[in-house]
Each structure stands twice: as C-alpha cells, then as structure tokens.
Amino acid sequence: MAMTPQDDRLFSRYGLTGYDEMFVAPGRLRPHYAPLHHRLVSLGPEEIAHRHRAADLMMRNQGITFTVYGREQGVERIIPFDPVPRLISAPEWDQIERGLTQRVRALNLFIHDVYHERHILRDRVVPLELILGASGYRRECVGLRVPRDIYIHVSGIDLIRDAEGTFLVLEDNCRTPSGVSYVLKNRQVMKQVFPLLFAAHNIRPIDDYTTNLLAVLRHIGPPGVDEPVVAVLTPGVYNSAYFEHSYLARRMGVELVEGRDLFFDSGQLFMRTIRGPQRVDVLYRRIDDDFLDPMTFRSDSQLGVPGLVAAYRSGRLGLANAIGTGMADDKGVYPFVPEIIKYYLKEDPILPNVETFRPQIPSHRQHILENLEKLVVKAVDASGGYGMLIGPASTAEQREEFARRVTDNPRGYIAQPTISLSQHPTLIDDHLEGRHVDLRPFVLYGETIKVLAGGLTRVALPQGSLVVNSSQGGGTKDTWVLRGGPPKRPEAN
C-alpha cells in the first residue's frame, strides 16, 4: 500500500533497517498496518504528542510506576509509554500461540521429569551437570509432588523477530515474570486516549487475564478445600514490581500479603487479620525461591515465612509458580529446549530458538572467542539486561574481560549472534522513528494452557539500542492482536 505526500512530517525522518513491523519497503505498508498508518497521519504530530502526554499523566496519577534501585530509597518512575501500538496479524498470532503452548507444555514435563524420574538426563539429551549447576535448580524439590503436576503456572516467554521477520524465542521466564500489569494498563490507557483508533480495529480482548489467573490459582488449591483462599505474596512496597503485585491482587479481589502478614502453625499457613488468624490455601508468590522460607532457603530472608515450604510439602498450600522452576529458564538450558520439545512431545518446535553457542563445547568456545565483536554474550543466571556483552557495541577492553570470563567459567555463559531486533515506528519528540522491539507474551497453565492475546512489547528508546529492559531505559507499547481479516478503514476523527 502506498504512502501519501502528507506523511511528510510524521514519517519524514523514518528510515528502514532490518525487519520493519509497519513497512515492507520505503513507502510500502504491510496491509494490516494500513488503517493505523492512515489514522496516525490524519491525526498529525501535534495531536499525537498531545495525547501521548495525556497518557503519561494518566499513568502517573494512577501510580503505575516501578521503582529504580540504586539511589537511597529507590525512585518511583513511570515506564515510558509509546502511543503507537504494535499490531500482530491473526495468522502470525496463531503461530505464536501454538508455539508458546507447545513450549510451556514441554518445559513443564521437563521440570517434572528432572525432579522425579530423570529420563531425559539418563538418556543424555540434556547433560546432568548442566541441571545440577543451574541457579534455579532446587535440591529440595527432588521427589516433591506438586498440585496437579503443574510447575509453570505463569510464564513470560520473550520473543524477537529476526531480519526475515521470523519470530524466535529469546528467553524463557519461568519464575515470576513481570510486566503483565503494564499490558493491561497500557490497553486501558490506549482505549481512553485513542478510542477511535481502537474502535476501528478488531482487537482481541485481554481483560480476561486476571480471571484466568485466579482460575489457575484456585485449580492448585489443596485437595478437599472447595473454596481455596488465594493471596498474592509480595516483597513489599519497595519492590520494583510492587505496582503489579497490587494491581493483580486488586483485579482478582484477593489479599495482597507480605511475609510479615503470614505465619505457619500446625502445618498450615495463616494470615494475620483483624479477626485473628485466617487460613491461606494458595499463594501467587512474587518472591524468589531463595527468600520464601528462611528455614529452608536463605536464613537471612526477611521477606518470606518460616514454615512455608513445610506447608507446601504437606500439600496444604498451593504455590504459583512452583519452587525450583527457575532451572528451566537458565540460559544454559535454553539451547536444549528444542530437543526438550522433541523429546517429550515428539513434535518439531514451532518457534525456533536463536542460534546459541555454548563455551563448554570446545568448537563453540573457539568460535566465541574469535567472534566476540559480532556476538552477544550473556551470563546464564543474569536477567534484566545485566551481565551482558553486546559485541558490536563493546570496547576492546570489555571483550578482553568477557574472553577471560568465558574461558574461566564456560558453564556460566552463552553466546548468540547479534540479532538486529525488528523495528517499529515510535514517537520521538514530534515525529516517528524506528526503534527496536521485542515481545513478552504471557502464558497461564491451569486446567488448560491459555496464552494472553497480546503481551508486553518493549521498545528500546535510545536510537540503535537493542536493550529493551525497563531497568535499562526501555519503554512499552500496547500490543494488538488482530482478529479475522484486515481491519476496516477508520472514519474521520
């Protein structure tokens, strides 16, 4: 579809590099983006910037913030919100949805197997020492039966697009992935700020997320308890994701508890309420394994509850996610996920991995050391964009340092080719420029596996940057999963 001359101002500085989500080639739109493009142009730069400010103000007033660590008490900030939504066509989404369902099902079988029979390790599909050395592996979970054999109740699997537009899995987050509250809030804000834009598209709703989440949590209540009491466990108001914890509790209508609100007595967990102790049956915990229970894990933890693991073991407490799931999202395990899928499901992976080199294999190590300036090197147990080397943007000194690290601790790193993430039109001051994006869809696993129709699109705001994490200055966009055929052309206004 061709562009018209009045695009000039908004898109005048727009350049194409790599895969562009909106344009096939300069001036040629992907069909499902045509109405959005048309609407943006007719609104014009001033109006878009104006509504952008309105959106920011809404977020600020509603306290949709995250806390940045580093300074004294942590500073609350809103995550920069970009008003140009990202569109995903129905066929594209269909593939993503099937791919994620497949992946989560296989990872769940894998975790269960590792903590029980260990077939996959005995068959040497995945090396044993890799698992035992994974930071998320918990010895305490060996032989432990978890409710309904579900481990990964909530996962967020990061996807990127390569230069051909193929969706690839970048990493699996199977512990307590954050961001879904921004997905839900971004949508609310978009509906208010760009109602007609929204109305002109046939967008799959996402509002059922919290209802589905609550159903998943109820599903893992202790046997014999008809109406399980569910609560969200947060580290507290200073945690960077506190807004999310609070938002989810509110939307599910359940208590938001801190460790100090809970105590363990006669095999069960209780909340301290104004009417005395009240039983808790299921926790959606947003605290890492290590801090859950000072009697089992870190004894210096102030966040958890002594006895929590005992209640979990005895089957009188459901936990989402299960303890020990972090093993599956270790970056050292990541290269094996396609094999894991084939092993358990006898299917080919629908969503491919990014090509990954493991320094433990001598030929890979050599390749890594010789190509550091082209590769991204990641510590296997780091997240949030920390502990990485981005080869093309690195200094000789940094490369030397990573060469040393990789040689000293081959188990501790993986390397991947630098993939230029796809780019998406993004508002920069008063015009649009291409910025790199990724996508974190959320998957719920209860009676069935459900994929939230959308996800968090994170955008790297500094020009050319490939780092999308909010702790590193990334922003977010609303993500619209389109239903059926291409959207209607919007009316004026």
Binding site: R60, N61, Q62, G63, G236, V237, Y242, S246, Y247, A249, R250, E255, L256, V257, E258, R260, D261, M271, R272, T273, I274, R275, G276, P277
Partner: protein
Amino acid sequence: MLSRVAENLYWISRYVERAENVARLLDVGFHLELDAAGLDGDAAGTDPAPIASVLSILACRDSFERAHGPGPLDREAVLRFLTFDRANNQSILSMLGHARENARATQETISADAWLQLNRLHFYVRGRKARRRFLDSPPRFLQGVKRACILFDGLVDGTLPRTEIYHFLQLGRHLERASQISRILSVKLHGLREGGPVVESPLRIVHWSSLLWSCAAYEAYLRDYHDRVDPEGVVRYLILDPEFPRSIRFCVARCLESLRAISSGDGYGSEAERCLGRLDSELHYIAPSEIFDRGLGSFLSGVQDSCNKIGDEIHRAYFFT
C-alpha cells in the same frame, strides 16, 4: 482483613484529616492576620498571632523552635514549616506523603478513584505548581489542598461499600477530627481568656468567628443560633451539637458506629469500644453548664486523653494481632 491493611487504612484517613486541618487552620489564620492588620495594631498585641497559634494546636512549637531557633516567630517561616517542610512531620507535604505511602501499600483495597485522588494530590503538593500557587496566594493554595482532601473523603464515601475497609477509614478520620477540635478549642480559648469582654473589642469577635471558621462551622452556627457569636454558644456548638459534622459529639458518635460495625459483636469488641461508648454517652448526656463548672480547659484535656486512649486501644485490638 489483614491487620497491616487495617492499620494503613486507619492512618491514611488520619493523615488526610490532619493535612486538611492544617490547611484550614493556616487559611483561617492568614485571613485573621489580614483582618487584624486592618484593625488596631495594639489590640492584636495581646492575642497570639493566629498563624503562630497553629503551631500550638499541632503541638509542634518546640520542633519549630529547634529548627528555627527561639525568638519572635517569623510568619513566613511558620507558613513554610507547616506547608512544604519535608523535615517537619506535621507539614502538609509530610502528612500527604505518609497518607500516600500508606495508600500505595493498600491500593488494592481502596477504590481506584480514591487512590488516584490521593496520589494526584501528593504529586501536586510535591511539585513546582504548588509552590508557584503558594507564592502567588497562600490562601488559594491552602483552599486547594483543603478541597482536595475533602474530595478524597467524598470519593471514599461515594465509591466504597460499607465494609471494614470503609469503617477503618471512617474511624481514623473521625477520631482525628474529634481530637483536633478539642485541641483547637483549648489553644484558642487559652488565648482568648486573658482579654476583656467580647462586646468591647471588634477584634475579639473576629477571633471567636475565626474559631468557628477553623472548624468550618461559621455558617452552620449562624443558621442555628441566628444572633451574634457568643462564647458559650460557640463552645456548646463545637462540643455538643449532635448534627454538625465537626462537633466533638458528632465525631465520637461516628467513631463508635464504625467500631461497632467492625467488631459486630463478635467478642473482639475491646477496650476501645468501651472507652468510646463511655465518651459518647458523656457527650450525649452532659449539660453545658456542667462543662463550664468543671472548667472548659480540663474538660477538653479529658476529651483529648480519651481520644489518645481510644487510639491506643484500637491499635491493641486490631493491629497487633
């Protein structure tokens, strides 16, 4: 309901009530000083400067002097101390900050509307716009804060079901209010006692009226009492009127209502409920003359002691479980 959450709710409304109260007191004080300046300078000499007297009502005269040194009170300094001073726990900014922190930790319980209002108010008071407005016109700033606090109360009233959440908010709000009214009365009466008869000085009438304004009671009082402002009437109205939302009796009755709704006779009824019930009956049955016979000052300090004790007992019964 979690004890921690109940405690947060109770303190949110206490802080908001206090912030509103400081804003109102300063606003009234500001107007009063303008009036005094227009009257006879001498007459003003014997009475405590209205803005400075707010320090006494809030019991933070000592902390002000620690921060600013002894000596004559500088009006501007007092105003700043009570509005934007982060170091002062009793400043409007500090109290709204506390209220907001409490609300942030409990935002899943109060309605989104109420949370938004408090959050927005806090951002406003913290930001540049508020300072500019204050510089342009302190009364406009103060009235804005006052209205924003009342809007929060209104949103709580209009959006929350009458569950424990609502009642803990009411409990905090009304206990704070009862306690503040008794403090305002004590401090202002102490200042007025030394002067001559009311009729002789127009300034003293202004002071009595300001006492009513300080409790947002001026117009309501006149509708009830018609003729002019007289000390006994004012005292009777602010302490014993059963209908006026800022009389001690009214506030105590609301506290009792909320506490009863919370305990709903389940055996957690507590010492707090007993103390409140007793204070409530006293205010219900006492004759105004009895108050004057007993000495207004000692009566009021008795009320304050009861409020403090009730606060302690509420903590014991519900928050320390």
